[in-house]
Amino acid sequence: MPDRVYLDHAATTPMLPQARAAMAAAFDRWANPSSPHAEGRAARAALEDARTRIKTALGWDHELIFASGASEAAALALARATLPHRAVSAVEHDCLHRARADAEIIAVDANGAANLDAIPEQALVAIQTVNSETGVIQPAEATAAAIRERGGLWLADAAQSAGKLPLPDADMIIVSAHKLGGPPGIGALLIRDLSALAPTGGQEKGYRGGTENLPAAIGFATALEARGSRAHLPVLRQLLDETICAAGGEIVAEQSPRLPEIASYRLPGVAAAAQLIELDLGGVAVSAGSACSSGTLKPSRVLEAMGWPETAAREVIRVSLAPQTTQAEIELFLQLWTTLAGRRRAA
C-alpha cells in the first residue's frame, strides 16, 4: 500500500512517465517554431507532428488550435465565435461561466441533464461532455441535434472526457492535457470550421497569439498515446457505489449515465470539509467538488443547479480515478469512509 492514495484525478492527474520523458527531450528543441531559420523550422515540424498525433489519438480530422489550457480555449471560443448569441449550461465549469457573463443559462434537471428544449436560436451553446463533479455524461447525439435544429453551434467542454470517451459530434471541443496525464499549461480548441471564429492575428493561423509551447504540445501528444487501460475502472466504481450505498451514503446523480472516472458521494450529517480532513489524515486525497471551488467556502454550483439544498450539498465529496488507480487504493478509501459513516451512526 502506498503512503498516499490520490483519488482526485479530475482536479489534475500525475504526468505519465512517457510524457515527462518526451518533454525533457523536447526542451532541447528550444527554438521558436515561428522562426524561419533551420532551428525554428525543426521546431515547427515538431509542433506540427505533435498536432497531428493529438488529432489522431483523439480521432479529430479538423482544425486544432493550441491554447494555454481549457480555460483559455473556452474563453477564445466564447469571445470570438461569429454567432450572435451565447448559451451555457448551468453545470458548466466556472471558466465558461466567467468567459461570458451575458450568456443565457440552460438549466439542468435533478439528474444533471441539460434541458435541450431551452436552447436558444443562433447561439454558440456550451454543453459539456462530462461533468467534472458528478461524472454525468450528457447525451451527445441529442445535444448535437437540438443545437443544430436551432441554427447554433455546439461548444463541447471535453476536458474531463478526452482520452476516455470518443469525441462528440460537436462544432468546437475544449480539451486539456493535464487531465489525461499530460502537462499543465496546454490545452486546445478543436474546431470543425475556422470561419466560425473571428481571427485575432498572431500564431495558430491567426487565432491564438503567443509563442507556441512546443515541449508541452509534445507532452500532450505523448500522454494521449501512453494512456493505460480503463477496463478495470467500471468495476472499481461499482465497488465504490455499492459499498457507499450499503454504508448509508448517497450517490450524486445515481440515475444518470456516469463516467467511471468521476463520481460524487454524500455522507448525510458529515460536512465535506470534515470528511476531507479525516481522509487526508488517513492518507487519501479527494476533493469537495471541483478543485477551483473547493478552496472556497461556496457550495457547489453544480449541485445547486441540480436542485440540491445547500446543507446536503455541503456533505458531498468527489472521488475521481485514473487508469493507474488500483483496487487496493479504493479499498483504503472505503475503509476510511465506512469508518466515518459508522461513527456518524454511533453518534
Binding site: 467500471p234 468495476v235 465497488l239 455499492e242 488500483t326 483496487q327 487496493a328 479499498e331 475503509q335
Partner: protein
Amino acid sequence: MIYLDYQATTPLAPEVRAAMLPWLDRFGNPHSPHRLGREAAAAIDIATAGVAAALGDAAGRGRLVFTSGATEAANWALQGALRQGLRRKIVTIATEHACVLDTAAWLGEQGAEIVALPVGADGLVDLDAATAAIDERTALVAAMLVNNEIGVIQPIETLAALAHEAGALFFCDAVQGFGRVDLPLDACDLVAISAHKIHGPKGIGALWLRPGLDWPAFIHGGGQQQGLRSGTLSPMLCAGFGTAARIAEQCHTRDLIHVNGLALFLEHMFKDWTINGDREARYRGNLNLRRDGVDAGRLISEVREVAFSAGSACASGSGRPSHVLRAIGLTEMQARTSIRLGFGRYTTQEEVEQAARLIDQAAARQLEWA
C-alpha cells in the same frame, strides 16, 4: 500458484503463525495446576474470549467448547440432540456439508427419523417444506449459515424460529460464514465453527452452546472443558484460533470490501458463465460458476497455475457430482461443468484477473475443440 480455494482452507495469517510458535516450546499441560500449566490455561482463556467475541458473544454468556474441528462439533451437535430426550427426528437441508448429512444418515440407520429439506434453484431452503417437516417430534434442526459450495446464505433466523416454535433445538454450521457474514447468534442453540477457514490452524474448531443449555458430554476422560469434552487442549492451536478470530473481527469491514471488489472483477470477467445459486443472498468470496460444454475436472488439471476446485474438497476427489449442485436442480452434466472460485484476505486483484484469464482461455480451448 494462485490460490482460489478459500472454502477448502485458508492460508495461515502471519499474526496467527507468530501467536502459535512460542507454544511449540512452552509445553505445559493447560490442565496442570503449576505455573507452566497456569500459563497455558491463561492462553486458552484469552483464546476462548477472542473466539467468543468474534462469534458475537463478547460477554461470554454461552459456553465455547474447543473440538478437533467442525466435523467433531457437528457430530456432537446431532448426536447430542438425540440424547436429550424422547424426540428422535432431525430436520436438515439437502445441501448441508457431509459432516452433517453423513452423521444424520448414520443416526438414521440407528433408528432416527431424518428429513433433508429440498432447496430451490437458488440454493435457498424450501421454507414451506421446512414448516411442514419441523414438528413436535423434531429434536434438532440443523442448517448451515453459508453453503460451502455455492456460497448462498440460508435464512437462519426463520429456520431457528420454526425449530423453537416446535420445541426443537437449532444447530447452525457457521464454518463458512464465521467472521464474514452476520450470524444471528441469539437465534441459535448450538453453533459449529472451524479455525482453518478463517486463517487459523487446522485441527481445531469449536461448538458454542447457548447460555443455560444442558448438554451431554461427547468425549469422556479427564473432564477437561467443564467435563463437556475431555482431552488435553493444545495451547498452540487455541492461541492460533483465538488470534485468527480476533483479526477476523478487527478486519471484518476491510476483508468484506476487499472480497466484494474481487468478486466484482470476477463476475465481470466471467460474463459468459452462469452463477450457481442465488445472486443476492450470498457470501461473495465464494463464486460457483458453470458454462455449458466445459469439463470442470479437466479444467482444474489444465490450469495448473491456479488452485481452484469443482466443489467441496471432501467430495471433489471422489468423482461423484456435487450433491449441492444436484439439489439446486442441475443435471449431472451441468454439475460437471461447474467450478468453484474461493478468495479472500490475501488474494490480490492481479491474481484474480490473471486466474480468470487463464481459466476462461482454457475453457474456450475446450469448447473450441469439442
